[in-house]
Symmetry: C2
Subunit: 161 residues, 2 copies
DNA sequence: CTCGTTTGGTTGATGTGTCAACCCGACCCG
DNA sequence: CGGGTCGGGTTGACACATCAACCAAACGAG
């Protein structure tokens, strides 16, 4: 702000390095997941959430909250995942279906999680090292908080679920 | 490596903070671009590259190299952008068409670039501050290099253009 | 009670990304 | 000359994301 909107050369350079890094890392992890286990990043995210819940079942809006996905995206993706046998929508007493992870879904995530974690460690965590990793965690939270503060009063990023 | 594949609690926490940050920042910037200027992140990336070239025209494979996109994605997106009048594919002497930015495309990016840069500054660069930003740039390059090294000998991430 | 609003969720249209297949000219090797 | 194969690019089918519209039950105020 003190320096106007534009980025100076150093800032540009660092920003573009960051952009390249996030893209490279993301595509690398995603391709690995896809080609070795047939799971997309989205599949993985859903399965992680379900498998970390006690009962292996959650309501759709809980998933929506924890993944930050739009409800329609979630709905579409869940029907696709159901078709592939990774989850099941099962009716329960109170009107809305619960989303349950299937045996196949559980097996899939148990199989790929260690390899995925190993890649995250090898290509990211270990490259940063403990100190820089700690700093990254802190500053990430700050960035999220800053955007959140701005959006509370300005734009509807907080998902109109 | 010394610690096995799994992430410990601190690492998990930092990693998830990072994931949340990248997603939040990306969707925020993208929504802003879309709603205020009608441009997607992809449009923006193409237009930046073209507008930064001297002549305002590039061959498709140059764009492919600098954006790191697959050729088919690029081809599809360019035809869509041409339909919207942001670019033009024009024949030149040597067999392949050149991609040229149009007046409309130039106008679009000139209009949105300052606001975009301002948001990057406000929500990211200024939150990091100069020191942490410098470190981020360095470590980003290291991560990219690490992944690149691994993929040279192992998997075809380097786009089989 | 009834009407309006909120909440949880689905649907369809459309835009975008990915994969595999293909096209075609150039270049190389026999 | 004849056939690889490589580089640059297009195409079609499909998976995925986004947006707006819709639906039905629940809630709240008049």
């Amino acid at each position: 702000m003190s320096k106007g909107p534009w980025l100076d050369d150093d800032e540009q350079k660092a920003w573009r390095s960051y952009l390249l890094m996030t893209r490279t890392l993301e595509t690398h992890l995603e391709r690995h997941l896809q080609r070795d286990f047939g799971l997309s990043k989205s599949d993985f995210e859903i399965l992680v959430n379900l498998s970390e819940s006690e009962s292996g079942r959650m309501r759709a809006f809980e998933l929506s909250r924890s993944t930050q996905w739009e409800k329609s995206r979630l709905s579409h993706h869940l029907t696709r995942m159901e078709k592939r046998g990774l989850i099941r929508k099962e009716a329960c007493e109170s009107r809305y279906p619960e989303i349950a992870i299937t045996e196949a879904g559980m097996a899939a995530i148990k199989e790929c999680a260690p390899a995925h974690a190993a890649r995250v460690r090898e290509f990211f965590v270990d490259v940063f090292g403990p100190d820089r990793m700690t700093v990254l965690g802190e500053v990430s939270d700050e960035v999220v908080a800053t955007i959140g503060k701005h959006c509370d009063t300005d734009c509807p990023l907080a998902d109109r679920s």
